[in-house]
């Protein structure tokens, strides 16, 4: 069965409709690329899936559980907003109420991460003033349990956890090949390294699905190739990958399947070969200047 299922998803920003009834599904272990002209709504898809923007309509099911579930009925929207804004005093209370009403929970981005989706950003969003290691440790954070008390009393459990976190983080860095730079300040890294660090940080959350937003942007030939290699290795570790990319070499090189978006609608869906011959796609791409094939 599919790992991620997107059903007639739409997202409006004020007047304009960024995504329009988009549907696709993603099976485990697959590498799926979403391509399309600028402003086609690719990143918006990501932002909706990862809970940064609320969807206007449509549903997203991840790993058998509802991730996004919108309702036309206004009353439920209002209730949702009310609960989110006011009902927060007692932890988990809004979730409970919603579950009672059979509505999808309010998922904030960190909940989505809990569910097993990790992402990178189109414009790199590392913690620039922190070291490489600390950046990766951020990804480990949500699996830790130690709280204020543990920290104050330096309980053994807390010490062990800390040690584990660091060890894991270092493993990630070795996997991605940044272990030798782990004490450097992130923003002193070379651009390509920053891209890789961001991937490592995302991996640190142990995702089932890794969502990469233009990972190859700004990389040179060699780095691009290295990146493809890395992505494959990640996939081989059993992580499914959803990818937005402009660099057609990368896309065609590693994708199992490709979805083409234009004006928020899906105009094509198929293997790299199919896509390359698809008339709509070519039209869509020739429609604008920057043909990148």
């Amino acid at each position: 069965m599919a790992l991620l299922e997107v059903h007639s998803l739409s997202k409006d920003f004020g007047g304009l409709r960024a995504i329009d009834g988009l549907s696709f599904s993603l099976s485990p272990g697959e590498i799926l690329s979403i391509i399309g002209p600028n402003g086609a709504g690719k990143t918006t898809v990501f932002n909706v899936i990862t809970g940064i923007y609320p969807a206007t309509t449509g549903t997203v099911v991840f790993d058998g559980q509802p991730l996004v579930e919108t309702h036309e009925r206004r009353s439920e929207r209002v209730l949702r907003r009310l609960l989110t804004s006011l009902g927060g005093w007692i932890p988990k209370l809004p979730e409970l109420i919603l579950a009672r009403l059979g509505m999808a929970p309010i998922l904030r981005p960190h909940d989505v991460v809990e569910r097993g989706i990790a992402r990178t950003f189109q414009t790199i969003r590392l913690f620039p003033r922190l070291t490489v290691l600390e950046n990766v440790m951020a990804g480990e954070h949500h699996r830790g349990r130690a709280g204020a008390l543990g920290a104050l009393l330096r309980l053994p459990s807390e010490r062990d956890e800390e040690r584990r976190i660091v060890e894991r983080a270092i493993q990630r860095l070795e996997f991605i090949g940044l272990a030798d730079k782990l004490n450097e300040i992130a923003h002193n890294l070379a651009y390509g390294d920053q891209r890789r660090l961001e991937i490592a940080r995302a991996l640190a959350t142990d995702p089932k699905l890794l969502v990469l937003d233009e990972p190859a942007a700004g990389l040179n030939e060699a780095e691009g190739l290295a990146l493809m290699e890395t992505i494959r290795r990640i996939r081989d570790k059993g992580v499914t990958i959803l990818l937005i990319e402009h660099d057609m070499k990368v896309v065609m090189g590693i994708s199992d399947r490709i979805i083409v978006l234009d004006d928020g609608t899906k105009i094509a869906d198929g293997t790299p070969i199919e896509i390359q011959q698809d008339a709509n796609v070519i039209a869509a791409y020739l429609g604008e200047e920057e043909v990148e094939v």
Binding site: F13, T43, Y53, S85, L86, F121, Q122
Partner: protein
Amino acid sequence: METFLQQLINGLTIGGFYAVVALGYTMVYGVLKLINFAHGDMFMWGTLAGWGLLTTVFAGLLDLDLIAVLIVAIVVMAFIGLLGMTIERVAYRPLRSAGRLSPIISALGAAFALQAVARNVSEARWRTYPEGLLKEMPDLHLSGTVGLSGLQILMLGVCAAVMIGLYLFVQRTRIGTAMRAVSLDHNVSRLMGINVDRIISLVFFIGPALGGLAGVMIGTYYGSFNFTLGWVFGLKAFIAAILGGIGNIPGAVLGGFILGISETMVVAYGPDLGLVDASAWKDAIAYVLLIAILITRPTGILGETVAEKV
């Protein structure tokens, strides 16, 4: 009913003053995203300067009444405007790239300094404007006891004029457009060939100048003041600005009137609703109102919500 009308008028007058002062906060915030804590005290300096002039230099012109006040008002506006520009140059400009905490401290520091000077100049006493100023004005009598004094009419008129004028200025003129551009994005505006620094200085002239005007108005209207005026009144005006959605001129006006009227109504009808010492509690109620509005509309009533670009 009559009481209600009268209270409404009271509320409008107070709200008007809040609004004019709030304009200063809101403009500065618009272009600099900085809470200019010193604004309240600049406005108090306006009252102080007005008092100083009217009791010394212009003491001779008092029989000119309105004219004298107008002259003084203009002089004070110019003075406070320049003061504002200086403060921006000295206390804010060096900190533009220094994160968000430092400017706040700097602003508070400026406020302290201004207040200390004012306290020592006024010898910590209540100072009174010359008596009988602007008394000879036609009152407007509505039904029965309800009415506006000539002074009130004048004040409300000036407030309205200032707000509309400013609004038109920002919306219609080239400079106004430049201001709006700067408030959106400094760098882009710079690329568009706008001299950002000059625009900011200009804003720091207009805002405080309006504060100064409000200062003189309050001085003449209430007849007396002391150095704590800026702190107290300023904070209220600031709340008004936030209520309406800071950075937004109609918002500031709206906020001002909402605050003024709601305060008045609390005092007027609080006791009937079983709220003893209503007038002592009314500030608290103003704050509660603020919080309630911000919880539901995180950027104020008219403030537009900007989603973060990812």
